[in-house]
Amino acid sequence: MSFIYEELIKLYQSTGFAVITWQQCVMLAVSCLLIYLALKKGFEPLLLVPIAFGMLLANLPAAGLMNGPIYETIDGVTKMKDPGGLLYWLYQGVKLGIYPPLIFFGVGAMTDFAPLIANPRSILLGAAAQLGIFTTFMGALLLDKLPFLEFTLKQAGSIGIIGGADGPTAIFLTNKLAPELLGPIAVAAYSYMALVPLIQPPIMRALTTKKEREVVMEQLRPVSRMERIIFPILVTLVVSLVLPSAAILVGMLMFGNLIREAVDLQSVLNRLSKTAQNEMMNIVVIFLGITVGATANGELFLLPRTLAIIALGLIAFSMGTAGGVLFGKLMYRLTGGKVNPLIGSAGVSAVPMAARVSQKVGQEYNPNNYLLMHAMGPNVAGVIGSAVAAGVLLSMLG
């Protein structure tokens, strides 16, 4: 019966218990923690649940769900010996840069740019809030000087983009510049987006005076249907001509928006608009989330740099908020008090969470102040702004 014994040994060696590493143990715990945060604390569950579960699946020992295919060549004919794991194949949509633009397409179909069209100067607040991206980028370069940390320019750029407060942009850029950081950067970006209502208010209060916070802004003008339809085409042309590397993100965002707005003229387009917003988006979110999470294997994730990235992410969000608010103060001065600087913080993107924070802080100081629609302008401008910043980083570092 010795062969039974041998088989038993073989069988034991094929179990996960036999080969699990301490990193995998920790990662399984981390993924459970993320599921807890997503479900109990409401941390962006739409993305963090798939990310966390992908992390769990990818760290199951010996399961090989992220393994690539294995080919073998016999007599000059190459054949696939093993197809590899599901997550490897789904991950190709990240690797080839397919999922993030498709999500931008859906986001465009869901976003109303009218508050921005009605109040175009608010677009500058969406530029100012990108300060967070670049200060964090510099911060990462400075941390590189520390003996136990090492960040290349590309890695620093990927970390900086956390300050864009925009998940698909962060994933898109990181995949191009530093795919080895995809896991921690995605987790940091989505976690801090969930924490916007905690991070922003103290900074907003610290940088503004009570009088500034109480400014009531003028009602927004109505926006014509023609403006809504021409806007996405113009934005695509202008941004792409100046910065070709931002064309794909901005172009797909605006394609989605064009279809959304064109429904008013040709109702048959409603089919496409709904699919872009719902089923197509949901399918891509599931695949994107689970495979981004799956990149976070223990050896890559459990390094000092992950903690540094998490620390830098907080700086990114804080500096972005500060940049927006300070530029808001400048606009307050220049317009003779017509602009409430609180809407500046919404420039970090994180649509529409950041705009709601502006609204909430504003109402604390003046219960009759409704800043929401005014803050939506910088908020959606911030999406464009961080796509442009990503384009700059891609073209200068890529």
Partner: protein, 120 residues
């Protein structure tokens, strides 16, 4: 050039370009307003609340005559019907109107085929 120096350059250029591009968009939006902003903005949403305030029979008639009765209007009809049943006390306030699903056609009818097939 050291990484830090190049980083500063990236930051300088980056912020400049972000501001340039978005300022450019500002200018374009301002011009667009001159050309197209004059026209009265159309209301894209059905004015459900006002419909609810009319009497049930009026709303019903309006809705069933519409060839493209959509879900919002359907809810308005329902709300109006309920409110009419309850004696006309219009103390309803529709807080959230959910448009329901995709309007899959009853395929015997040619009208939907017109919308779709010839476009494929």
């Amino acid at each position: 050039m050291s990484p830090i120096m190049y980083g500063l350059l990236v930051t300088l250029f980056g912020l400049t370009i972000v501001f340039l591009v978005l300022t450019g968009l500002w200018g374009i939006l301002a011009m667009m307003k001159l050309f197209f902003g004059g026209k009265k903005a159309q209301e894209t949403q059905a004015t459900v609340k006002s419909m609810v305030n009319t009497t049930g029979s009026e709303v019903t008639a309006a809705a069933v005559q519409s060839d493209e009765m959509d879900a919002d209007e359907l809810l308005a009809v329902i709300t109006a019907a309920i409110s009419a049943c309850m004696g006309g006390e219009n103390n309803l306030y529709v807080r959230k109107i959910t448009r329901v699903g995709d309007n899959t056609p009853v395929w015997g009818q040619i009208s939907k085929q017109e919308q779709m097939l010839n476009r494929l």
